[in-house]
């Protein structure tokens, strides 16, 4: 498992702002995000509703809604997706980068067999392949995600939630992309099925040397699966760093609260002490001056409600947007790759 720094970053967001134009005015969903994902590595993006994470990653394939105005750059393998021609975009979609959606909700046509749905992008990107080639590839993909090739003849309603999610992964791999973005792939699933799906995903990422961006509200999942993690709140990145450190020793009060929502079983400090935040995550555009998290912050200071709060480096490889971060002691020992 190598981080190929020589290949350049597989994905880069440079000062991305995304604003929705609505009847009631402009709603800023993403407010200045800078993120880099090295080729062959994995990044987890954590956030709750209103954080802007889904809007942000929709730009990777330029799938953001028409009402969304995007500024900044989204670079896939060095090319700006936002500015490229439609012809180039079509070639990029699915063959260079693809998205795994939540299989339970959208993504699968209830009236079509699974095999046809997986075959669809293959037909689009490799029009010269024969029916036999396509069938063989579909069978290969199903085996890679741990399903028998005979499943190609099933309809979505005949499969369980975990199986449907694995089909979504197979579909995402159909055209051999180098970058996979998985949007909340395990949110609606039980813990055992979640483990199965995550295992499939991580095994494939290792085997095929892919770059993975995983989105979840569950920081513990990201800590388990990804190299690095970025936490988003109200359209901004508030912390980034190695995933396990962001989870275990957060440098931002919000990350700490988010990590606390998933208690460590066996740790008596979590017994009868559910940790959470008052209030609710803000609606996009509903943020005041200064730090967006200030209204809910358990350690807020008087000057937190004014001024700019950019991401600053608080330790090598770790950044936080809090003016009073909990600075991790010394450089962290290398925890090895997951």
């Amino acid at each position: 498992m190598s981080h190929d720094g020589l290949r350049g970053p597989a994905l880069e967001f440079r000062d991305v702002h995304i604003t929705y134009r609505t009847r009631d005015g402009d709603v800023p969903a993403v407010r200045g995000v800078n993120l880099t994902v090295d080729a062959g590595s994995s990044l987890g993006i954590a956030g709750e509703s209103g954080s802007g994470k889904s809007t942000l990653i929709s730009t990777v394939l330029r799938l953001q809604p028409k009402t969304a105005k995007v500024t900044g750059e989204v670079l896939v393998d060095g090319e700006d997706v936002l500015g490229m021609s439609f012809k180039r975009l079509r070639a990029l979609r699915w063959a260079q980068a693809s998205i795994v959606f939540q299989g339970a909700l959208h993504g699968l046509n209830p009236l079509q067999r699974i095999g046809e749905q997986i075959a669809e992008p293959i037909g689009v990107h490799e029009p010269k392949s024969t029916g036999g080639d396509v069938d063989r590839r579909v069978g290969e993909l199903l085996e890679q995600v741990g399903l028998p090739p005979a499943r190609a003849r099933s309809y979505p309603h005949q499969l369980s939630g975990g199986q449907r999610q694995r089909i979504m992964i197979a579909m995402a791999l159909a055209c051999r992309p180098r970058l996979i973005v998985a949007d909340e792939p395990t949110t609606a699933l039980d813990v055992m099925v979640q483990a199965q799906v995550l295992k499939v995903l991580t095994d494939l990422v290792d085997e095929l040397d892919l770059t993975l961006v995983l989105i979840s509200h569950d920081l513990s999942v990201l800590a388990d699966v990804c190299h690095r993690a970025a936490v988003m709140y109200a359209g901004e990145v508030v912390e980034s760093g190695p995933a396990s450190e962001v989870f275990e020793a957060s440098a931002h009060p919000y990350s700490r609260a988010l990590a606390g929502a998933f208690p460590r079983i066996g740790d008596t400090s979590f017994r009868y002490a559910p940790s959470g935040l008052p209030g609710d995550p803000p609606f996009p555009g509903d943020v005041g001056q200064g730090c967006a998290f200030a209204p809910r912050c358990p350690v807020v200071h008087d000057d937190c409600t004014s001024g700019e709060l950019p991401l600053v480096e608080v330790a090598p490889g770790r950044q936080s947007a809090c003016r009073y971060p909990i600075i991790p002691p010394g450089p962290q020992p290398d925890r090895g790759t997951p």
Partner: protein, 319 residues
Amino acid sequence: MTTPALEARDLAVSFHTGRRTSARAVDGVNLTVLPGQIVALVGESGCGKSTLARALLGLQPTESGEVVVDGEILPTSRSGLKAYRRRAQLILQDPMGSLNPRMSVYESVAEGLRVHGVEGEEQRVADALSRVGLRPPERFFARYPHELSGGQRQRVVIAGALVLEPEILIADEPVSSLDASVRGEILALLLRLRDELGLSILVVTHDLGLAWNVADRIAVMYLGRIIEEGRTEDVLSRPKHPYTRALLSVVPEMDRIEPIVLVGEPPDPTRIPPGCRFHPRCPVLQQGLPDEISSRCRGQALPLLPVQGGHAAACYAIP
């Protein structure tokens, strides 16, 4: 032992899924909740935990066995059941779906009072809303569900349950639809209600972390049976049953146990395996057991677990 607030005795619930097939969603369960206790009922989807919860509330007809409330068997008559409703209330997973979008917060909370013809409606609604943290309550009277956040809606649902002054609360996945940072508040509210009002609470969930946060005791369910039961510390720190061990091992960031990812899907309640119902997926059996034990795993059905008796697991392979 004090009289349990709520008990299931040898409870079984079946559904007819076809002409000759039936699914034993609950296949013989003994479960007890003592007064003022919080018990977590955990398991994966399809294990029957939601069916069991509804059977305990009298919302699901049972095939055999009994539901016992404070020492008395649950009535089957309409009026008897209706009276029972005042003592045991339900909180569901999806707060948006649990509230009629056309009814204001006041009307939703007052609904229980109106059904039972209770006096002093306005004061009781205000008290219930205050108790769940929606203050000042008058400000919420005229709001509608779509104007509230997820956390606030769930509080309204809890207020609607509290307004009837129940002794027992059954919460089916109370926080899984809510944002992560909001869950803590709702769970803390449940703990407070137990401390202040002495409520007995049964929480049904697939989230082991939730059980660790709030539950005194935990019962693990698999394919319609409880396969392990005990104090939360005991079961989650020193799990006995291979299924519990596997579930714990795959919780993210669980470094204590090597991950045991079970193969295959959670099985079908219409085809319950003979012997130990977990044996087709059991990693311990697959690793190899002496014949006298493995033959029992495959062929001999296990007895139901005793209730509230320390830490017990239904497995032949445990010494």
